[in-house]
């Protein structure tokens, strides 16, 4: 289902509005933020798969299969040594195929992760549903219902509204008398800055 929910940010970085918080009265709304980089936006299934043909990913596929084949070859070498009378080689004969299998599982999961990232912006189905429901219920509210009168400009998107609410809440939240809370908020701000940098760099196709 295509949802009118907000463009996803990092998982766990939930918008304050979705946890039942309201904007403090009297705080000014900042201007809406520019849209995020394309890489962070969810894509349809067909397009989301296309990354597997990109040169960096092809190199990754070749590397993964070379590693797995190398491990199988090592297993075969240990098998021949074991047949030659080296008893301890039996242990490694069974170990190398296990590692080869693990390498392939690891490779497959990097592809699945990247697909999910592109398809859903890295969010789980549950989180997507939760955000969509929250955004829908917000959009269904009569204008200004949750906010002090006149604070929600007409024509503002839900995304812009939520970003604004978050910014306003952050601005109004006084953590000066609670060092632990201040540390937590500083940590959140750092994580947020990192995600923004990541979103800016997400246009480049990369494995790392």
């Amino acid at each position: 289902m295509e949802t009118p929910g907000p463009a996803p940010t990092a998982e766990g970085d939930t918008l304050p509005l979705l946890s039942g918080q309201v904007v403090p009265p009297g705080s000014a709304l900042p201007p809406p933020e520019p849209p995020e980089a394309d890489g962070a936006a969810p894509q349809p299934a067909g397009r989301a798969w296309r990354f597997v043909y990109r040169p960096r990913w092809v190199a990754w596929h070749l590397f993964a299969f070379a590693v797995a084949l190398g491990m199988l070859w090592l297993g075969d070498w240990q098998y021949r040594r074991a047949l030659g009378g080296n008893g301890l080689s039996w242990a490694y004969t069974f170990e190398w195929p296990l590692f080869a299998g693990f390498a392939l599982v690891f490779w497959a999961r990097t592809i699945r992760d990247e697909y999910r990232q592109r398809r859903h912006g890295g969010l789980s189905e549950t989180e997507l549903g939760r955000r969509a429901a929250a955004a829908l219920s917000l959009a269904a509210l009569p204008e200004g219902a949750m906010l002090p009168a006149g604070e929600l400009p007409a024509g503002m998107t839900v995304r812009e509204l939520q970003l604004s609410l978050r910014a306003a809440q952050e601005a109004a939240y006084d953590d000066a008398d609670d060092p632990e809370l201040a540390r937590y908020n500083a940590h959140l701000a750092k994580l947020n800055a990192r995600e923004r940098r990541k979103a800016l760099g997400a246009g480049k196709d990369r494995i790392l």
Binding site: F99, F102, Y184, L208
Partner: protein
């Protein structure tokens, strides 16, 4: 989260110590005294404990949402002497400590939220 971290740390120290014994005791013994008992048997033991290490380290890397190459480094750390301990410290600094702090802060934050 704490369980996954503990399982990873226990296996990191076991494989880390084993590989140091193999490389810095076993190899000199093999070449100086032509005694390869330590290398052969501890090598096999390390090989199988390394499988357990790989499993726990991989599960932890999924929990911490680590990217591909840091995860590869984490998994290979169990095979290179001393690197196991360096990587364990790096993991704690870069991934584990922030994640645990997040968990604790999240729990502490719950009653505060309005």
């Amino acid at each position: 989260m704490r369980g996954a971290v503990l399982r990873y740390r226990v296996m990191a120290y076991i494989t880390g110590v084993l590989i140091i014994v193999i490389c810095f005791v076993g190899l000199p013994l093999q070449f100086a005294a032509h005694n390869n008992w330590i290398d052969q048997w501890l090598g096999t033991v390390h090989g199988y404990l390394y499988i357990v290490y790989v499993i726990f380290a991989y599960l932890l890397s999924r929990k911490l949402k680590m990217r591909t190459w840091p995860t590869v480094l984490l998994l290979l750390a169990g095979t290179i002497p001393v690197l196991t301990f360096l990587v364990e410290r790096w993991m704690t600094r870069t991934y584990i400590a922030p994640a645990l702090a997040d968990d604790a802060a999240g729990a502490a934050q719950q009653p505060v939220s309005r």
